[in-house]
Symmetry: C2
Subunit: 829 residues, 2 copies
């Protein structure tokens, strides 16, 4: 009876594990049902339900005929367009609600003020809290993380369903608050999340091709394009921007994927607007109506160039300011400690400050404070001149333009105040721990600055500059477009903002001014500061390989032998299991080198840590233990038969004895698997006689001294090899091209060193210390000053373990034979 | 006296060599002065003269401060804009001249006909002849060759000044003839030529950074962008198109270079038009005036999609037709032989046929035969509807529209005839051996086809489709734009034609229809045929690595060991000079593997062929020969002092004796260097006594038996290594990422095989045989059927040489130890 019960328990446990493993699929189902509003998701859920009903038939057809990628990309585009549209709808609703509240209370200024500030504070605080609790990885833009992931680094928890929910809801609240935050960066992350979850779903339903790891990376890069594309309804700009922002080397064969998905997504996004009767047909998001026949004069180009250069300086300043704020707060220990304890205080305070300043009856009246980002942009891109002869005489009061006109204050003052205030506000707001991007605020500031320059030009040349024939007045809206592209290009170090601007406005007539300004802005900004995303990568200490700077040709002179780690951890063909065990306990490397012998040091391949762990546990497996005990029982006769059998039962189910489990501290996953079996078996184990336990321990020690049998072990026979003389430049290129994590350095087939991303980064940057691959949300960096890092914890654990077991410190693997001083000498025979 | 005279001669020879070496610089000077019209090049020549005057001062400043790339890119952009503009001017002049002649003779139809046909026949024949004589490499588009060059393959003679002159003049004539040919492909080549020559020039003047090989490749890829950019005044589309067409993996860090240079170039190109008072300000090349507020209705999208799909089929058909024509003529032996003898007959005949068909009073009246490409495009992109209710009633007779209206024939018939006739005409015309591209003709055909669909739509829905409210008639011009982008995208397999079309028309309002049509056209065309450029690559048998097809997952199962060449040519550390000599004579490999010994086979590195040649000639050098003779003279006393001294003189100047020079047949470059010295020294040599010659030969044989001294030899210590188990997919990725030509296959450091591009291509394509890296102009392929290739010639030479010298055939290098059957087995200890 008892035996049967435990067997049932085992079955239950297995089913439970199965259920948990399938969680990913369920997540997607949940996602498709809950998040973006049930009503709108009837279409995709129909799409999902059809293949799942006749999956068995469709499967082969779909995969072989129609092309597996197309379906995936269409689904991805559809899903993202829906998410984007629903989110926009929700954000617009939030902002309307705030305006309604604010407008309804116009009798009492104090009440009005409270309504004006409480709304964003509540939303931002909720967003920060919700994100913090559900998935702290959802904080921030997401582009830096995607850049790292596409580089080949696995960032855990960044592509889960939890993060998706946290990001979407957090972002909606953050943007609904009306703070100067953007949706573009987070949307890249959301699209990647969508792609990752959709991949899991498709792999579960269709299997086959969808399980391919390489394919998933390709899909992720297409997803980034979709993110930008459906955010701005800008398919081409979206593809280009995502390439510039996330890739180092771009495979042209992935190009069409991005274009297809982004186009489809942008199309659906705009069709939804038509369907909702917001628009009559598919048009641009911020449609402009500049005149076509003479958009600008040749002699205006210097003004555009100056605007571009100014935007370059502005962009660099923005990145610097943003980093300064984070670093300042991190250094100030008092603030740091306080903020760590009360995580929601910082966003609440920032929101309070910003919303107070934009309060329309207060200071906000001088900076068009009551307008949302969308309204401001529409006004700034207006094709009329706001101001003639310095005074805003002919200002018409249609739509949102009245916000820019103050009875006592000049339009110029309003524009200057708007630009300056929004500049630092955006820099501060983007440091809040909520899901948010900086692209749109920067874009808006650029537009305002461009408008300012344009209005000044219009004042200076009221009849335009054109000398011959007809009068073509200057179009300040064109300057706004140029400014927006230039400033956002400068902050992100991209050229494709030019394309985004054309697609956003639906006009390409200003192509040359935009291109000139964007390129000049990029030239200035790249010379002064890293891009905003690279800056965040540095702040967050993500494991990313920096670019080789232009003109740093001394990098060609550094060789791999100068930067490699000579003390390589390796195992030899005649290592014993004890060596293996020690090796596993002393290092955290994911892969270990396999060499022929300690003398020859010829590199045979590399083995993953997990493989070695399974080799070790196989050696001490239940099967072998069982065999040994059976033999022991035969040798001893039958006098203590019962306890042995009981012990057999226990080991059969626990997998490993106690002597061994202490060793398994190094592999927590394995230990975890055992715990539930152990928990209901501990009573039995007390009945095992001590003599048997002793024998088992002895047997284990024997087993550990045997040489390792690599027969059932997966060896990577082609680990990446470099030669000592490889230049740093070449190494960098190979690492970034192939997305390597480490490479072995060999000399005539003999292992002499290893180079990992860490060494390479140090060599390129000079002496930047990076504490490993762990990624943390921005606020987590406040912890650094007080606590120790995780790496040292592991070391502590390891020391403790050694002291406990009375072992000497593990011997250092012999330093490899001193490497030859170059091939030339050896060739002298 | 005599001695001094020869010394003077030597000095003269040296100076002459110096002068020749500087030829590249002079070429650029010449190019900058002659080709694009002297008057216009005052600006760049000023730019050139300033730095050359105060080069010593400016040099450091320019290179360290301003950034070496910027100057280069500005110069390149400027130069290309000028070339493009001057060429356009010349072409327009040619076409005007033809019209003038044709118009002036309207009294006599026969005279008119002769004038109409003779003009293009003469121009095309001149173009073909000129190109054939000066530089046959200038024939054709140039994009396939640039794709190959950027892949890392060195195609000689493709980036020389001669080719530049031939391409520019040949292209101008070809386009001036009015044949359906394009300037875009050749312009990519011209821009690359410019960049290559400019690099040489800059390296000669400033040295330093401009000599970097890696940089030059980066500049070439920027130049491709400039080529497209300044041809269409489309900077963004230019960059994207050039990336799609030439790259497999694109380094994002090169992105800005292309953008900057292309923008600058497009800017100057359009400024020149303003300066020449063709335009009032900078505008698009084919500016459209579609309405902004409602460019198209949502319900028109199916029509756009159908147009895209039809264009996809059309594009595939075009590529197929083009290849069919070339292959047909190659197979027909009679035609083949005839055409080989009379090279100019084929282009003349084709031109005659095409111009006869377009003769305006003849068949040309039904297909708008009198219009140039530019005029046709302007008319096709017109924003008015040509045809209401099926009859072209309200047709206005402004500008070129009257050509499309025939009194008896419907507009539809004209459009259909135009599309069909131009389709095959373009496919035929682009096979002519003149510098020409196919992009523009295809673009035009697409526009005509789109216009046809648009006019049909306008007839079917005279009041537009839009249901609610105002009437928005259908804009057939929009269909023309979509059709142009879709067909050119289908033929070239690119998506960026969409961007080009926006920049060309100056309107982005049709972005979604264009994107949808282009993507659909690409999907269809890619499924049916390779791109036009890949098709030409196959026809010309260029050494290019094909893409791994989508979904061919069996490629993952093929391993390097299945495709590698096991019989590797190698030299060992204890090889003698004789082995070296034999190795050099038996193979054509550019690099040879250096292994430790024949038994261990441990790969130490690879040595270039040239290095080995210089090692060999160093062993038999004049210095060592001199020493030997001096010693010989000392040993023999002084009895025949005079001849020896004379011999010394001769060897001192000829470098090598006769015995040796026979061996040097393998290195033609070296022999060439010697000829001029030999020519005036042969008289002296007769005076050398026979005994000395015998001694020299003996000495040489001795020297050859010595082991090679690798001290002064440059060894590449890091040749690329793969392991046998590497999958074909991974190998392909690595080869295309790193632009490899070959990689050694090693097993535990031991050389077991080599994989070159050839094997890889064979494995990917199945069993395509390619006869090496030699590149030939299209007509040269006619030769294949009759003659033997050059490779066999070399073999013949080699056999002859061996027979002559009475040597046995060189022994095959030992096949390397049979490679282990996989690491797993070896790991079993």
């Amino acid at each position: 009876m008892y035996g049967r019960y435990t067997q049932e328990l085992g079955v239950f446990a297995k089913e439970e594990a199965e259920r948990l493993r399938d969680g990913g699929v369920r997540d997607v189902y949940l996602c498709s049902l809950i998040t973006p509003g049930i009503s709108l998701l009837l279409i995709p859920s129909l799409c999902f339900s059809v293949p799942s009903v006749c999956a068995s038939r469709c499967q082969k057809f779909l995969i072989s005929r129609v092309g597996e990628d197309w379906i995936f990309l269409i689904l991805l585009g559809l899903l993202m367009a829906l998410v984007s549209w629903v989110m926009d709808y929700a954000i617009a609703f939030c902002q309307e609600a705030q305006k309604w509240m604010y407008g309804g209370l116009d009798s009492n200024l104090l009440l009005q003020y409270i309504a004006w500030i409480s709304y964003p504070v509540v939303l931002i605080t909720f967003s920060a809290g919700f994100t913090q609790i559900l998935a702290p990885q959802a904080v921030g833009s997401g582009i830096p993380e995607m850049k790292t992931i596409l580089r080949g680094v696995v960032l855990k928890e960044y592509l889960t369903f939890k993060t998706f929910v946290a990001k979407v809801i957090g972002l909606t609240c953050a943007l609904g608050s009306g703070m100067p935050l953007g949706k573009e960066g987070p949307f890249v992350h959301v699209a990647s999340l969508c792609a990752a979850l959709l991949s899991k779903f498709m792999a579960a339903v269709f299997g086959g091709i969808y399980k391919n790891e390489l394919r998933n990376t390709e899909m992720l890069s297409a997803a980034c394009a979709v993110g930008v594309g459906c955010c701005f309804a800008a398919p081409i700009g979206g593809v280009l921007f995502s390439i510039e922002v996330t890739s180092t080397f771009f495979a042209v064969r992935n190009y069409w994927r991005g274009f297809f998905a982004a186009t489809f997504s942008a199309f659906i996004f705009r069709v939804l607007a038509v369907w909702n009767q917001e628009e009559e047909t598919i048009t641009a998001l911020f449609k402009t109506r500049f005149r076509l026949d003479f958009p600008f004069d040749l002699q205006e180009l210097p003004a555009f160039a100056i605007l571009g250069i100014a935007c370059g300086f502005g962009g660099a300043l923005f990145v610097y300011l943003n980093r300064l704020i984070v670093e300042c707060m991190r250094k100030q220990k008092t603030i740091n400690k306080f903020l760590l304890r009360k995580r929601l205080v910082y966003p609440a305070l920032v929101t309070l400050l910003i919303s107070t300043l934009t309060f329309p009856p207060g200071f906000g009246q001088f900076m068009a404070g009551q307008l949302t980002q969308h309204e401001s942009l529409v006004a700034l891109f207006d094709n009329r001149t706001w101001c003639r002869q310095g005074v805003a005489e002919e200002f018409d009061y249609i739509s949102h333009h009245h916000a820019w006109k103050h009875p006592q204050v000049n339009v110029f003052i309003t524009l200057i105040l708007f630009t300056v205030m929004k500049f630092w506000m955006s820099a501060v707001a983007t440091t809040m721990p909520v899901p948010c991007g900086a692209f749109m605020p920067v874009f808006l500031i650029g537009a305002a600055f461009g408008r300012l320059v344009g209005e000044i030009m219009a004042t200076m040349f009221p009849d335009g500059i054109h000398a011959a024939g007809s009068v073509y007045p200057i179009v300040p809206g064109g300057y706004a477009v140029v400014g927006a592209a230039a400033l956002s290009g400068a902050v992100t170090h991209t050229v494709s903002t030019a394309v985004i601007v054309f697609e956003l406005t639906g006009q390409i007539s200003h192509i040359l001014p935009v291109m000139i300004a964007v390129i000049l802005a990029n030239a200035v900004a790249q010379a002064l500061q890293p891009s905003l995303y690279d800056s965040i990568i540095r702040i967050k200490k993500l494991p990313y390989l920096p670019e080789l700077g232009m003109g740093h040709h001394e990098k060609y002179n550094i060789r791999v032998e100068d930067i490699m780690v000579r003390d390589v951890r390796y195992i030899t063909l005649n290592s014993s299991y004890r060596d293996l065990q020690e090796m596993l306990m002393t290092g955290q490397l994911k892969t270990l080198a396999l060499v022929e012998s300690r003398d020859s040091m010829i590199l045979l391949g590399s083995i993953e840590r997990l493989q070695l762990q399974s080799l070790l546990s196989l050696q001490l497996s239940r099967q072998r233990r069982l065999e040994y005990l059976r033999q022991l029982a035969q040798d001893n006769g039958t006098h203590d038969h019962l306890p042995t059998v009981r012990f057999l039962v226990s080991t059969q189910q626990s997998g490993l004895g106690w002597g061994c489990s202490s060793r398994l501290k190094v592999s927590p996953t394995l230990t975890k698997d055992l715990t539930y079996e152990m928990s209901f078996l501990w009573i039995q184990s007390l009945e095992v006689p001590v003599s048997s336990l002793m024998q088992i321990t002895e047997w284990e020690e024997q087993q550990l001294d045997e040489p390792v049998d690599f027969k059932n072990c997966k060896i990577d026979p082609a680990p990446f090899q470099l030669v000592e003389q490889t230049s740093l430049h070449k190494t960098h290129t190979i690492f970034s091209l192939l997305g390597l994590d480490h490479a072995y350095v060999t000399s005539m087939g003999r292992l002499v060193g290893v180079v990992s991303l860490k060494e390479l980064r140090k060599a390129i940057e000079g002496s930047v210390t990076v504490t490993g691959v762990k990624v943390r949300p921005p606020l987590a960096s406040f912890r650094d000053s007080g606590n120790t890092t995780n790496v040292s914890e592991v070391t502590e654990l390891h020391k403790l373990c050694i002291r406990h077991r009375g072992l000497s410190l593990p011997r250092e693997p012999n330093p490899p034979n001193s490497p030859p001083a170059g091939l030339h000498k050896e060739c002298q025979v």
